[in-house]
Symmetry: C2
Subunit: 387 residues, 2 copies
């Protein structure tokens, strides 16, 4: 089991904090934006006497609201096709286990969300990667690249759109390529779309659920990022495929139920938060514009301009980005401050790739991003002097 590249340096960050050092967390997609007030208010209104198990598939009150939410994105589903999970994490794990047997293969684009590989490992699934490249802005690899990776054991393609860690938003044309592959090789398309609200290009965003291959698509979703409520651990698994749904339900019954309190908060977050969503969107867009420009102004640093989510994969002028990330936490301080980044190598399965890259999340307010950029710039100068 690999360590999470996002969290494995946390002990070093904690050590630095104990010494009184201020650490800017660019490593983790933990938004600093507030949870919607109406969702927080819902907590104070709970009048249950017993905090009991919820149904394994989640409460109808939440699934009913989600149906209306999805309709806004052209996703036409029924409450019975939605399963509430303990975060998007659990939806991923259960989709892998339901769609594949141990030893089966799944294809994903690298760099990819590191925990996909952890969950695949848990499910005994072999992950094969096709590589997207920073010089192409991390666009979808070619159909041929996918076909080269397909074997008789291939059962699924996993797509994160908008992408974590690259921020890339796959176009409708790229989704068509995937649809062709899915049909041609009879595959599942597991679509992690938790960042669908954060697409900055102004271009249309297409959900895999609207591709016209209802039995092939499993949608993985979460309220964590869109309502800035990562801690409530509420995600969803949505599919028209009845057999997949019923198999996932067996795993859901084994773990008994998703968190009750999180379901109450999530339900209270969905309706009447249009203004909130607009504010969050504008804020992230402004942060992206500021942060990517600032990164590219640092000598030797390169980041493509991501069109979605709130991450970017950045090339640094260092040979070993993990060593640099560690050193920032253990040795470097600028006015008592430092930065924490996630080494990007952990997002690639090919050990030769991503060594000079890091993933950064722009989830801090602009004044903090500005300071983090200053720290990063100074750290790079100092580190290059030493190496």
């Amino acid at each position: 089991m690999p360590s999470s590249p996002i969290r494995k340096l946390s002990p070093l960050a904690n050590e630095a904090k104990k010494q009184g050092v201020k650490v800017y967390h660019l490593n983790i997609g933990q938004p600093d934006l507030p949870t919607p007030q109406q969702a927080l208010d819902a907590l104070g209104r709970i009048d249950r006497k017993t905090l009991e198990y919820s149904p394994s598939e989640g409460y109808p009150f939440l699934r009913d609201k989600l149906v209306k939410y999805y309709a806004k994105f052209g996703i036409d589903i029924t409450p019975a096709e939605i399963i509430v999970t303990t975060g998007g994490s659990e939806a991923l794990l259960f989709s892998f286990m339901a769609c594949m047997d141990p030893g089966d293969e799944m294809i994903m684009v690298e760099p990819g969300y590191a925990n996909y590989i952890s969950f695949a490992r848990t499910a005994g699934i072999k992950v094969k990667t096709v590589t997207s490249r920073i010089e192409d802005g991390f666009a979808l690899p070619s159909m041929e690249a996918f076909e080269k990776a397909i074997t008789p054991r291939t059962k699924a393609i996993l797509l994160c759109n908008p992408n974590n860690p690259t921020g890339y938003v796959y176009s409708p044309a790229e989704l068509q390529t995937l649809k062709e592959l899915v049909i041609k090789y009879n595959l599942f398309l597991i679509a992690d779309e938790v960042y669908r609200e954060f697409v900055y290009s102004g271009q249309p965003y297409q959900s895999a659920m609207t591709l016209g291959i209802p039995d092939n698509v499993i949608l993985v979703d979460s309220v964590s990022k869109r309502y800035s409520e990562c801690g409530i651990r509420i995600g969803m698994l949505v599919t028209h495929n009845k057999l997949v749904h019923d198999t996932v339900m067996k795993y859901c019954q084994a773990r008994l139920s998703p968190p009750l309190l999180g379901q109450i908060v999530a339900e209270a977050s969905i309706e009447g938060t249009e203004a909130y969503a607009k504010e969050c969107f504008d804020e992230y867009k402004a942060r992206r514009d500021f942060f990517i420009k600032g990164l590219n102004e640092i000598p030797g640093v390169y980041s493509p301009k991501p069109e979605g989510a709130f991450y970017t994969v950045v090339e640094l002028p260092v040979a070993d980005a993990e060593d640099f990330c560690r050193w920032c936490l253990t040795d470097f301080r600028l006015n008592g401050e430092t930065v924490m980044m996630a080494p990007a190598a952990g997002f690639y399965s090919n050990p030769e790739l991503g060594k000079n890259q890091v993933r950064m999340a722009y989830v801090l307010k602009i004044e903090d991003l500005a300071k983090a950029l200053e720290v990063l710039k100074a750290a790079l100068i100092k580190y290059q002097e030493l190496h």
Copy 2:
């Protein structure tokens, strides 16, 4: 993946309820007792603006309190040895994955908590069972029975004490037998002790954590039952074994964090709830006394007197208890009421065993248990007429 015997008949129960039938739930350990008021009050006092991810291992504020709680049971641990999980369910799954490789074997007593087998299946672990028998009151099988089940692939023994589904409480002498086995064959002892507060015999209860084999024992725990807060999904994995701890942490980091809100409720439940705990204990003891006596008064029904937890495995005068359970939900009503029970066959791996048994939970108030007993008695008479 097997279906949960506890929940798989839920669709039939829902159908009955839609028809206006009152269903007494003896199938699931969902206590009807209230959550401690101070824990509910804590929800109203949350003044966070962002419901953010918590540390993967859980908040120190909760782990610190748990240390004091465990000390009351003679369990001497540090906060760093406690990992907060998403319910005891996740602690079980992670302990299996951390202690064993796919293909390894784990021994458990049958009848056993059905979801153990589901989690083992998830982890690719082969479960071997040694059988405890209703005629022995479900006491621990002999050392020889365990040794017959041990192979070179055996890595762990899983013990639920007090036991779910049988309510049996293993004696210190029985624990010594397990200790000998664990040492002799170099095994892990995974101890699920979530019902430790509910031991009615007046006899001393020993935790596996006090057996003097610190590197072998992994304690699985949960606040669900002891504070009647199953829905918050907060459990714990506790071990002195550093390698197991660190491996579990990798799984914890992949799933990011346990539920934040549940941690706040759990923390508020631990101190100052002695009177609450006493009330719950007395209530369950009274229910047990009433329910077991009532069961044994129904012709052809036999239940041992369980000394712990709030379950019992009961022999019914029917050939196929699952068919009987289904029939109760679909066809039988007494004054518009029926009962839901969990067929016990799902708690055995040997398909020949438990066919005429059900698991019942006495988590309803005595007046409801009385009505459930009436319904059961009438249902058995009617069912026997028809078969």
